[in-house]
């Protein structure tokens, strides 16, 4: 068990990659602070994670032997982030690792000139600035302890462009930039910051993921058609499973990667290797 004694905080933990990551950390012996917005956001055209989904993630982690604290947290609100982190520190004493997983895929599906200012701002606020808020809240204590790992869940959209996804692509590119800059800020105090870039991840039924479906909807194509397109676009001719991404996150959280910082780990079946 690679994470015994560690406490990992995961945002967007109600479902999808967040749930898969939390479970993988629990299986490695970690204690977990699970955060999710647990509410729909104005401007996001699809339902976000719910309190019930977050509690289900928590139950699954407990069954795997983890101590779990779950709380609602909106990464757009610094006070909300600070209060959730404070609660987690109170419960667990310290936070050893953070997985910035919370993110939205839409509003998307239009060219740059059609994006409204508030749509742009919302995308950047959640997908980029949200990660920065969590980071600034936990990094001081991590630096003081001279120990910690921050994993930002970016995307292949952080490495290449996607048509009609300018806001998402810009935010995920920005997240990689933030990762590299923060890695240099905290390298002297041994706090590591890395990014994971998943390709197209299958919407797993038990993980309740819906990213792929929402992207398809934003592009106004059938889910099956979209899956087919991306399966073929990824050289290994398969969609990515949530567990594949979770395994990469566990590696970056664990001490196995103790000399890895500022790195960008793609889990995309070779998509960006072309």
């Amino acid at each position: 068990m690679r994470l015994t004694g560690k406490t990992v905080l995961v945002t967007g933990a109600a479902r999808g990659l967040g749930r898969a990551t939390a479970l993988a950390c629990a299986a490695e012996g970690a204690s977990l602070a699970l955060l999710d917005v647990c509410d729909d956001l104005a401007g996001v055209p699809y339902p976000l994670g719910t309190k019930g989904q977050l509690e289900h993630t928590a139950t699954l982690c407990r069954k795997a032997g983890a101590a779990v604290l779950s709380a609602a947290c909106d990464v757009r609100d610094l006070a909300s982030v600070e209060s959730a982190v404070a609660l987690a520190e109170d419960r667990f004493g310290r936070i050893d690792a953070v997985v910035n997983n919370a993110g939205i895929a839409a509003p998307s599906g239009k060219p740059v000139h059609d994006i409204a200012e508030d749509e742009w701002a919302l995308m950047i606020d959640v997908d980029l600035t949200g990660a920065w808020r969590v980071m600034r809240t936990v990094a001081r204590a991590m630096s003081a302890r001279r120990s910690g790992s921050i994993v930002n869940v970016s995307s292949t959209a952080g490495l290449v462009g996607y048509r009609h996804f300018a806001g998402y692509v810009a935010a995920k590119h920005g997240l990689i930039g933030l990762t590299k800059a923060a890695a240099l800020d905290y390298a002297p105090t041994k706090v590591r910051v890395n990014a994971v870039c998943p390709g197209s991840v299958r919407d797993d039924a038990t993980a309740e993921g819906r990213m792929l479906a929402e992207i398809a909807r934003a592009l106004d194509v059938q889910v099956g058609e979209h899956e087919q397109t991306f399966t073929e676009a990824q050289p290994m001719n398969a969609l990515i499973e949530p567990e594949d991404v979770a395994a990469a996150v566990v590696y970056l959280v664990s001490d196995d990667s103790r000399q890895v910082t500022g790195s960008v780990l793609t889990v995309d079946g070779g998509f960006t290797a072309r």
């Binding site: 004694g5 407990r62 050893d96 302890r145 001279r146």
Partner: protein
């Protein structure tokens, strides 16, 4: 007091995050509650005594499930800045209440009270900690004996149950004494220990003081008062780097610390690194009062690399508990340490005013037996005692026509060897030799040498080998000391007063005059006497009986597969006991012995050719000699076994060999040995893995040999601890010839087996796996290029010169990493001495390898305040002055030679300077040859260098024109 001890592991270790161990000032308790738990009531009880919340965790499993145990361990080991209460509710109506507290907020009594409040509903305020914990001192480096894994940041616990309850104050003294004993040979007279309340403490450990006098050297503050100048900071207990959550640090409304515990100043600097310490030593009499089974964890991470606590047990007795860092200690070491600590603690408890510190034993009888057994291999010991001649007769009878020994000019079969030796033996008998006599042998390395050694044994006598290259003085000393009447030699200039010289031919000729050879000798009769450097100023004769040699071969025969297909080289002088191994190892296992002529042995290229030509399979070498062989093209060798002996081996040098000769083709064995224990004691088979690791192990004892490592009083020390190596068993010599007092001092009865043990004067430590690490000589004896040299012996020779008033010897290396550059530097007083004359006179007495490379005259020798020689303050030696610069027109070869010689000898060289006077030796000569080859010039064979040791002579001889 110490009865039966049970070692048990009762908690998984945790990881220490980065450089900060948040849990080191926290302690925790877990109480198991049965039946339904009223969460609201618990919450209310908690709220009544402090501003803490109760965290409830539903585990979704039964209390006996692994998941439940894992969750419980996780909570118990989770640090806090103040107080955390967690209720783990299991599905089977069982709950675990875990309370974790920072010691600055709740001490042992406070934690006890809080638990009592929660479980039984007791009321009343929580007590204020009587003193805050101090920032732990920095960790001392991992000790050699610890067995820790470098870089491992995790830690674990071990415990030992004691039948009664010793006073906690005694634990500090017992810990200090145990640590002092573990520090081993050369430990200073004081140790540092620590407590969580007082930080580092210094305790003096005088051997002859009463045991009751062991106390911290600084004034002892009581636990309730904070002395001025002590590192305790009552207003500032929480270490920096762990910000206390300002809204929740301390119970408001309680009498606990009204002030803000956030650190305001710089942290206290630890006054000195500490290896071990105690947590809450004064709270040892406290048990939890709650009526439920409670588990108390004194710290959540060890504040000291080895952290100890005494925990009274509800059922009576006391648990000696230890948390230890894996970077410093192995679990096995801690278990052993706890047993020893408990034994020492019991003696402190029982000590009378007459009990001295030195009287306290670290090991009890069972432990001594265990450690003694560790020094013996599990393999069956050798067979029945036998004479060398009887063992050889069996080989001869089995394979009479197999080749036994050859030197390039002649080869003798076993039958021929036997017949020749018989003839010489008859000659010896005819010359009056009878059983029990000693016969000198001073012969070059030829088949004749082997025949003569066997002949002496057949005559029932013991042989006393000397080297024809020894100075006349040393030959004479040996002959006189051994009482030699007869010396078999071909030396024309054999000293007149050193026994009657006789040639092998004379003896063969006289054979007809003798009757039958003696029969019926004992395996305990002396077989040989070999002279070794001695601290008394003159070499001393070590008497080794037949049975030891046969036991040595029996101990190795099977493991190394020694047999008739093997071809052994006889490389070493008969006067060096490594040749005993080569000679009898070969002949008693039916192999063919190839005698290596002296000059070939000094010339690696020629030696290589011989090994290839003769298809030698078993090669014995000193590491220095082997490193020369490595310079040659050794790929064609068919050697299947290399045995190292004579000096310490740096295993890393073998990598180049392993590149060409993988381990499964050629076994490499490093043997540690002493003349007094019959050549070898231990054997370590080397692998590429060990070579890469630079292993210092010389392996476990040979079957039949016993290894002990003892303190100055001869008591066994624990595994891993440095002490004197003592050797018992089948190899122990009979003693020193004609020196009963010295023999009695160095050979004593073996307390753990039959026979005697030899006190080697070597330092070493026995590892927990029974292998030995050899750490050099206790006294000034050193080894240079395989030769054992007593510096005091050289010094006493220098002092025999009436002009010399005082003398000192030091060994230096021009290149500290390169043993080949080791050099003997002599210092003599007074300053106006003719140093060349001093050296010349010494050369008439000392063999070349003991002759100082430099002699420097001083007004006085620098001394330490204790009046001992201060070798550090000796000036750099004055080297033999180089001759005037070479005249113009000297040929190019001489210029190149001067450049290379100067470079390799590390001093300017004139064309008339003597290579050996400038500190040259055979190793450096090999390097010069290599450098010459590198420049496309022919190498200088060593024999030429012996004849013409100056550049002018070499070039004039036309070898480099």
């Amino acid at each position: 007091m110490v009865g039966e001890h049970v070692v048990g592991e009762h908690m998984v270790g945790g990881h220490m995050a980065g450089g900060h161990m948040a849990g080191e000032q926290c302690h925790a308790v877990r109480v198991r509650l049965s039946g339904p738990v009223a969460v609201e009531e618990l919450t209310a009880r908690l709220a009544a005594v402090g501003p803490w919340r109760l965290w409830v965790e539903e585990t979704a499993v039964g209390s006996g499930e692994p998941v439940a145990r894992r969750l419980g361990a996780a909570e118990l080991n989770r640090p806090t800045q103040s107080v955390r209460c967690v209720l783990l509710r299991h599905r089977d109506d069982v709950a675990d209440l875990v309370v974790v507290a920072h010691r600055a907020v709740l001490d042992r009594e406070g934690l006890d009270r809080l638990t009592d409040v929660l479980v039984s509903g007791a009321a009343g305020p929580l007590p204020v900690p009587s003193a805050a914990p101090v920032t732990p001192p920095s960790a001392a480096p991992a000790p050699d004996w610890g067995g820790g894994r470098r870089g491992d940041t995790s830690w674990g616990t071990r415990a030992l149950d004691l039948p009664d309850s010793p006073a906690a104050t005694g634990l500090l003294a017992a810990l200090a004494l145990t640590l002092h004993r573990y520090a081993g040979h050369g430990a200073s007279g004081e140790v540092r220990v620590a407590t969580d309340r007082r930080g580092a403490l210094r305790i003096e450990v005088p051997a002859d003081a009463p045991a009751s006098s062991l106390r911290p050297a600084q004034p002892t503050p009581t636990d309730s008062t904070v002395p001025t100048g002590s590192p305790v900071r009552p207003d500032n207990p929480v270490p920096t780097g762990s910000p206390v959550r300002p809204d929740n640090p301390v119970p408001t409304g309680s009498p606990v610390r009204p002030d803000n515990p956030v650190p305001t100043g710089s942290p206290v600097r630890p006054d000195s690194p500490v290896l071990a310490g105690l947590v809450e030593p004064a709270a040892g009499d406290r048990t939890f009062r709650v009526g439920a089974p409670a588990e108390y964890l004194p710290c959540l991470a060890p504040p000291f690399p080895l952290t100890l606590a005494l925990l009274p047990q509800p059922a009576g007795g006391t648990r000696l508990w230890a948390a230890y860092r894996h970077s410093h200690f192995s679990a096995g070491t801690v278990e052993t340490f706890l047993r020893h600590l408990a034994h020492v603690l019991g003696q402190f408890t029982d000590a009378t005013p007459d009990t001295l510190v030195d009287d306290i034993e670290l090991l009890d009888a069972a432990e001594r037996e265990r450690v003694a057994l560790l020094g013996r291999p599990t393999a069956t010991p050798p067979g029945a005692p036998e004479r060398i001649t009887d063992a050889l007769a069996k080989v001869t009878a089995a394979t009479p026509d197999a080749p036994a020994v050859g030197d390039g000019t002649s080869v003798l079969t076993y039958r021929e060897l036997d017949e020749r030796a018989e003839q010489v033996a008859r000659g010896l008998v005819a010359r009056g030799i009878t059983p029990g006599d000693r016969v000198g042998i001073c012969l070059e390395r030829t088949t004749e040498l082997v025949v003569t050694m066997l002949a002496v044994l057949k005559a029932g006598a013991a042989y006393v080998p000397t080297d024809p290259a020894y100075p006349a003085d040393r030959l004479a000393h040996t002959a006189r000391d051994a009482g030699l009447e007869l010396v078999v030699t071909r030396l024309a200039e054999y000293p007149a007063d050193a026994g009657t010289p006789v040639t092998p031919d004379d003896l063969t000729a006289a054979a007809g005059q003798a009757g039958a050879l003696p029969t019926g000798g004992s395996p305990d009769d002396p077989a040989y006497v070999i002279y070794t450097s001695g601290s008394t100023g003159r070499p001393k004769g070590v008497v080794v009986p037949h049975r030891n040699v046969v036991a040595l071969i029996d101990a190795t025969r099977e493991d190394y597969g020694l047999g008739p297909d093997d071809v052994w080289s006889l490389f070493h002088s008969g006067a060096f006991d490594f040749s005993v191994w080569e000679t009898w190892g070969c002949l008693l296992t039916g192999g063919r012995l190839v005698v290596v002529p002296y000059l070939v042995s000094r010339e690696p290229g020629e030696f290589r050719d011989l090994l290839v030509r003769e298809r030698v399979t078993v090669l014995s070498q000193t590491p220095s000699a082997f490193s020369q062989l490595l310079e040659t093209d050794h790929a064609p060798l068919v050697v299947r076994l290399v045995v190292f002996g004579g000096e310490p081996l740096d295993a890393r040098m073998l990598l180049r060999w392993f590149d060409r000769h993988p381990e499964d083709e050629c076994r490499m064995v490093n043997m540690f040995g002493i003349t007094e224990t019959t050549v070898h004691v231990t054997a370590q088979t080397l692998t590429r893995e060990l070579a890469l690791a630079g292993s210092k192990s010389v392996g476990p004892a040979l079957p039949g040999w016993h290894l002990y490592v003892t303190d100055a009083r001869g008591r066994l020390v624990p595994p891993g601890v440095t002490g004197e190596i003592r050797v018992g068993g089948a190899g122990v010599a009979l003693g020193y010839l004609g020196q009963p007092d010295l023999t009695a001092a160095r050979f004593s009865p073996d307390p753990y087996a039959e026979g005697r043990q030899y006190h080697s004067g070597d330092l070493g430590r026995l590892r927990p796996d029974g292998t030995l690490e050899h750490l050099g000589r206790i006294d000034s004896q050193v080894k240079i290029r395989g030769f054992r040299i007593e510096l005091d012996e050289i010094r006493s020779v220098l002092l025999e010169d009436p002009e010399v008033h005082a003398a000192a010897m030091v060994v230096r290396r021009d290149d500290p990493a390169d043993p080949a550059t080791a050099r003997l530097d002599a210092y003599v007083v007074p300053a106006d001495l003719d140093t060349a004359g001093v050296r010349k006179r010494a050369a008439s007495v000392l063999p070349a390898y003991m002759l100082p490379a430099t002699v420097t005259a001083l007004d006085a020798l620098p001394l330490t305040t204790n009046g001992k020689l201060d070798a550090q303050r000796l000036p750099d030696p004055v080297r033999a002055a180089p001759a005037a610069p070479a005249p113009e027109g000297t040929d190019d070869a001489a210029l190149v030679l001067r450049e290379i010689w100067s470079d390799i000898l590390g001093t300017p060289v004139g064309i008339d300077d003597d290579f050996f006077e400038l500190g040259g030796n055979s190793l450096l000569a090999v390097r010069i040859s290599a450098a010459l080859r590198g420049r496309g010039m022919p190498a200088v064979p060593l024999r030429d260098l012996f004849r013409t040791p100056t550049i002018r002579a070499l070039t004039e001889a036309g070898r480099h024109a």
